[in-house]
Point group: D2
């Protein structure tokens, strides 16, 4: 399915005025395949900005469309929504979306969770006729464990993946990422990958939220059959949180293509060993601000500075989404028709 | 006075092991003119990491040396100390340090405060024989208003500049910056500048702390009389928090000089109008994290990425230190002897 | 209008299941005069839990009903909603609700704001035939200044009451409280009271939120004409944040009436002089947690412990609502029919 | 060793003026057996207020004396220090102090840690001739895991108790508490108790800090041989965070003894099941404020209100120190000589 990408700033998590802007750009709400938003909450367990956006947007989009809201616009980042809309003619970019079945609370963050994501991603690719080698980004929004879910697990004598609600976000993201990596052929042994926390996909971008039970999945891929693609994609990974080189190399390519960046999707995290390039950082020892907030602010500052745009999708918690301490990076850009 | 710059990471605010590293590099504690550190507290009113560093370092440095600790190593930033040490032979860089008289609590953040800084900076420059046109950085550490100081002001029936302790940090920084700008000839009418909050110096870097009563002042300047300076300096300002261009222009100059960055001093702040390049940021509306912490994380991420080093001095709260929403930027670098 | 009070816990700010519980208790949604809730956000500027609750509840209540959501359930407090529902027969308790006109952003926190609240409260009392001497509680939810509102004020060259968004909440609450005090005859000179910040009402409970433009008003009063009231009310104030005596005196009265507490409405704040009973507290110097959050947690812990119930309405920011450092306190309780 | 208890407020973590107040009360620094303080940091991993107090106090007390600083004075609590000083004549209260050997990082929070505390407490009791049945309080300050310690464990191929620095505080407190319970005969099977997290002592009060390697231990006990004790002790536990009854019963006993409270030591925590008395609390789902901070604020508010004093020792994180969701409670009071 050929798609285009448009993005608009929001004045609050309840702001749906971007729909008007979308219509002014010539699209109808029926064209919406996905709404991917950054909202201004803490991006952690009690982030109700995500829930609020989900509440106001879901009635406005087609039933089959999905919404993915990622909390956290620390630092310079701008709260905004990105629309993935269908186009009648080929654009060079194609997309497909879907959902897993609802996960049982005790499945969250486990191999069962990863398998559900893997089979759903596989089914969506098959259904859309997209080759895994053309994929540049798989966005997943997945559930987390709240106190209530932990109690419901206890009530049926099951074992949760963790009893720490914040940690459950990380485990949920990792399971989703391993599912993606399995579906894309980046990982062969899912069970083995789930026993560690160091396997990764360079195309995965996962975020966890308390406001859903299933996983929402959005896939963006190049359309290799389009002759003169107007939209091109590039994906890579940042090796650590200050890897400006990875960003600059893609931006150089955009420049050499006379292109203009439509949107950047990046993952960010604090390295677990507490070091960046051999020097200590304090993100993991700060009991006032979670490390995901620190990482979004810093990596968001770097990418926004380099691309000159604060309306970018930088999401915290990169477990399995790029190398440890780094993160996956996908850039979509238009090229002028010659 | 000819000086050199050395910097070392710290394992905690109480870590004085950099003194050993300094000695291993051939210097003695008697050579220390200033210790300028970044510590890992919140950089706000109740940041005891600054106080702790002051406590452990002051007994170790010469009486006439000054210490300036700036709290806040959000995101990728590395807690570290930078030594300004005297050299016998010219290096191309000269420095001078001093203090104002203790400020009365009711003077903090007022024109009186600015005047004290102006006259002290002027006196230090005169005493050291440094021309104001050679100055690239004036670092000032200044006091703030705590609840206790507010009560002591009330007890003598004086009026504080503000009754909000966090806001007093901003007002203290602004007064210090206007003092610097006056001494350097960037501002002619101090009283007028203090009636607004938009006048600025591109050489000022001020931070406020609860642990002192006077202002500590450190001046770094080029020595225009040195024929082949090994250390060069460049100063400019970031126009906003994503002004990568300002940084890249200086780094290009360093590169063309075959230079190596010794240290970067930058100020950062959230723009008061809530916008960056026309798009909304949320730093001023976040009641969980103060805007100074957001700004340090974002600008620190940008500069650290571009220079490839997290041991940099990025300080929050740029009132009067660079244009609104931006900040002053000073870079010191060595050039290889030819 | 005769009313009853019922309260139910919520599982999240989006949880509207209390409506089912209300129906199970024999009431219809048409009976709802007001929904007064405590939601689990930070209670400060960027509290989207309030907005989310407003979004899910407003479509479910009658047009003339009002909703008041107060953020912040720090410590032991339970997120819940309290329904004020109309009864056909006299209960001993009567209520009336209404709204002011939308306030212009530059009016928020000013005498104009206070006057609007005063005249609206007066009109509501008149319309309902309630004597001001019977009033035990006036709840007001009022707007605050966000970055966007500050810019809109600037755009029309008006002056905001403050440029600090968090401080605007305090000023909005104070203006609302002075309006209430004026309407109830506790204050004679509104303009004079607005020049200071120390005048207060013992019946006022005001909270500010970014999600509204006008002020929502709910008045609860004894019905002195009912012969055998089943619901009784008592109101007083806590002199400081540890005034257990004020609470115990009311609870003793409930006990001597063989009563059972229906609901407690309390305001809490950190004393501005930084002292409680002569000893320093640190609520005003904590740059990681706003003082309103500290105060709700502490006073909530005290009241919940004494009444043995965590489903109580404790709201932070008591400017003008009780003496400085203390807060208004209203208790509603049923007495067994003899 | 006969002891007395004196307490004094502090103006900051660096304030040692209580030593003057102690001298004014007729004591010498050589009389100090222990300094037990509450400091105003976050009480979590990066609380440098504790480290700062340790730095300024340790040079001022005898070598054999111990210091225990517990961070966190949320809500109404007053930062202060409590001195345990030796008396020549019997007072009714006796004390003894000591330390364990330094714990290896990989031992923190493990059975090995618990055994070290158990054997040290046993040895201290033996050495002082104190019967375990007379003990009313065992205070322990124990180390935690920082990022650096986690890396040092990895470097020697050992397994840490947890890789989450904040969680390591809880595990360290639990191990210390089980050690105390074992030494006092409240627990028989230490290994078994360490396999769960629900065993507890009603005399234990443990706090963790990054600033030490060994465990500091202070024991307070009644002297049953004193005929007319001037100082009496009572210890019990709060069953949950709103258990006002437990506090009131002790305060009634103090009142009936015509006594005056010298000091209260209480532990507080958020119940893990997310409920208090059947109703949901939000302390465990708040990603902006750690649950220990919430619990200290709420329980501190309750106790301070009931005793009318904010200079009390309320410490967060009650793992193994009182029943789950509650906490140990020890009160020391003077009685007038008859």
């Amino acid at each position: 399915m050929a798609v285009n990408i448009l993005k608009f700033g929001t004045s609050s998590p309840a702001d749906t005025s971007p729909l008007k802007a979308l219509k002014a750009a010539g699209y109808d709400s029926a064209d919406i395949l996905a709404v991917v938003g950054k909202t201004e909450g803490n991006g952690c367990v009690n982030d109700f900005s995500r829930t609020l956006s989900t509440h106001v947007w879901e009635p406005l989009v087609p039933d089959k469309a999905i919404t993915i809201f990622s909390g956290g616009t620390e630092g310079v980042l701008n709260p905004h929504v990105t629309f993935i809309v269908t186009e009648k003619k080929p654009t060079g970019l194609q997309a497909a979306a879907g959902r897993t079945r609802p996960l049982e609370p005790h499945e969250i963050g486990t191999p069962e969770h990863a398998k559900e994501v893997a089979s759903s991603v596989g089914a969506i690719l098959n259904g859309a006729g997209i080759s895994s080698s053309d994929v540049h980004l798989v966005l997943v929004k997945c559930p987390l464990l709240t106190s209530e879910k932990l109690e419901s697990i206890k009530a049926i004598s099951k074992i949760p993946a963790t009893t720490d609600t914040y940690e459950s976000m990380a485990m949920s993201r990792y399971a989703s990422a391993i599912g993606i990596a399995t579906a894309l052929g980046e990982v062969n042994d899912l069970e083995e990958a789930m026993r560690h926390d160091t396997t990764w996909s360079s195309k995965a971008s996962c975020s966890a939220g308390a406001e859903l039970e299933d996983c929402h999945i959005l896939i963006l891929a190049s359309d290799s059959k389009t002759e003169k693609p107007q939209i091109r994609a590039a994906s890579t990974y940042m090796a650590d949180a200050i890897d400006a080189g990875a960003i600059l190399r893609i931006l150089d390519r955009v420049k050499s293509d006379n292109g203009k960046v439509l949107q950047i999707f990046a993952k960010a995290e604090a390295s677990k060993d507490g070091l960046i390039n051999g020097f200590r950082h304090t993100m993991n020892n700060d009991s006032d601000i979670h490390s995901t907030r620190h990482a979004r602010a810093a990596v968001g500052g770097l990418i926004a500075g380099l691309v000159g745009d604060t309306r970018i999708y930088v999401s915290g918690g990169a477990e399995g989404q790029g190398p440890p301490g780094g993160g996956s990076l996908s850039v979509f850009y238009t090229v002028a028709e010659s």
